[in-house]
């Protein structure tokens, strides 16, 4: 090692901790052992560093500083905890408000079932059925088969249960008069419908089953068109309302015990 390198490496020599790697330290020590000039510099730097280091570190610690700091940190911690609690509370309140607003917006966005439109569609259907002579085409015509009624009712009840809807309809319809159970598009929403025919005529009754998740069911109005009446029935099950659209002045021609099968199994 040359003096120039030794002077460079001396910068890394520390009073208590050396930044030199082992190889450099050995090489430097070897050079210092043979170079009086660099050795004197090393001693000088070392003694100066040692003297300054001792004085630098000799700072008296004030009495009670530790307790003051602990108290201060504890006070800070309490303040931080309070701030976190307030923040959490305000976040929760904001969320609650947002959910409330969301529910309000959602509720406001749900339409009331257009009962008059459904009654008028019933008119169209009734007109078509009469024009087609459907009266004679209704399966069976006249009084229905009690065995078929039982099977039909079981099928419809299973379908409604699968859709998480009440199995019972709002009136004791005669399932021997069942035409179909299906989905219809009402105001852009799929609605389950159970369709019955009239026992001795071309009329029909359709039971629309509305859910509160799709429609605003508060104050669903009755409606009357040329041939049909739309009659709402609130369900005992929450969130469901029935709307029965039927021809004629009353539902009797579609119900049990009105000349058809009596008291089919429920």
């Amino acid at each position: 090692m040359e003096c120039k390198d030794a002077q460079f490496y001396l910068r890394f020599r520390r009073p208590r901790a050396d930044d030199l790697g082992p190889d450099e330290a050995v090489a430097l020590d070897r050079h210092l052992a043979t170079c009086p000039h660099c050795a004197a510099d090393a001693r000088l730097a070392s003694s100066f560093d040692a003297a300054v280091g001792i004085t630098m570190r000799a700072v008296p610690i004030p009495d009670g500083l530790r307790d003051k700091l602990v108290a201060s940190v504890s006070a800070h911690q309490g303040a931080l905890l309070r701030r976190k609690v307030y923040q959490a509370a305000s976040v929760a309140a904001s969320l609650l408000l947002a959910v409330g607003i969301g529910i309000g917006v959602f509720t406001a966005a749900r339409p009331l079932p257009d009962t008059l439109d459904l009654a008028m569609k019933g008119d169209t259907l009734a007109g078509n059925l009469m024009a087609d002579g459907q009266r004679v085409n209704w399966a069976g015509g006249g009084n229905p088969d009690p065995q078929a009624a039982q099977t039909n009712e079981a099928t419809v009840r299973a379908w409604l249960a699968a859709e998480h809807l009440p199995a019972d309809l709002p009136e004791p319809f005669d399932f021997g008069l069942l035409v179909s159970h299906h989905w219809e598009d009402v105001q852009g929403r799929k609605v389950p419908v159970v369709w019955f025919r009239e026992r001795n005529g071309p009329g029909f009754a359709k039971v629309y089953i509305f859910r509160s998740t799709q429609f605003n069911l508060k104050g669903v109005p009755e409606a009357q068109s040329s041939y049909c009446k739309a009659q709402p029935y609130p369900s005992r099950a929450p969130g469901v309302t029935y709307l029965v659209v039927f021809t004629g002045p009353e539902l009797a021609p579609f119900l049990r015990g009105q000349g058809g099968p009596i008291a089919l199994a429920g």
């Binding site: 208590r16 000088l44 300054v52 004085t55 630098m56 004030p62 500083l65 602990v70 911690q77």
Partner: protein, 182 residues
């Protein structure tokens, strides 16, 4: 570490070193106490950032230095000396070195710009390598070495009486506004 006992342990382990560092940076006991308190307060708020307990000391030092820099940023109260003209250490024998008075050391430190004072303090606290100091100050290691060399030369000129005929004019004119020329 988030628990009360963990925080107390953090204080117990580091408060003395932190106070000494604060004292050497600020030059007064009152400021040092305030800075130490402020550093622990800020550390508490940022405690989740400390993942490696081995780095707690360096982390606390950095928080304290930032707190100090924040305090003095607009005060411009430090009148410091320029070190551009400070040369290498003059030759002298080790045996002649006098004992260093704490007040004179602090006075000399106060005269240095923080950019020189911080590496000098960390260097003599011994626990920090050049690399650690460079990380603390977010500087290249070469810059740290250069500042240390010049800072030490300045300390030497202030703490060790000149030998007859030695030229100390470059640093003997009293405190002035500092530039490190970098």
């Amino acid at each position: 570490m988030g628990s009360a006992s963990g925080l107390h342990q953090l204080v117990d382990t580091h408060y003395q070193a932190l106070y000494r560092y604060a004292y050497r940076l600020s030059g007064t006991a009152a400021d040092a106490e305030d800075l130490t308190q402020e550093a622990f307060g800020k550390a508490l708020a940022r405690l989740p950032q400390l993942r490696d307990q081995e780095r707690a000391k360096a982390w606390l030092y950095r928080i304290l230095r930032n707190a100090y820099l924040h305090r003095v940023r607009d005060q411009k109260r430090h009148r410091v000396v320029p070190l551009d003209a400070v040369g290498d250490l003059p030759e002298r024998s080790a045996e002649e070195l006098p004992e260093i008075e704490p007040a004179r050391l602090q006075q000399a430190l106060n005269e240095l710009d923080e950019a020189f004072r911080t590496p000098i303090i960390l260097y003599y606290f011994d626990d920090f390598s050049y690399r650690d100091i460079a990380e603390q100050m977010n500087l290249p290691i070469g810059t740290v070495m250069s500042r240390l060399a010049r800072g030490k030369a300045y300390l030497r000129s202030r703490l060790v009486p000149p030998e007859p005929g030695e030229n100390v004019a470059a640093v003997g004119d009293g405190p002035r506004r500092a530039t490190d020329g970098m």
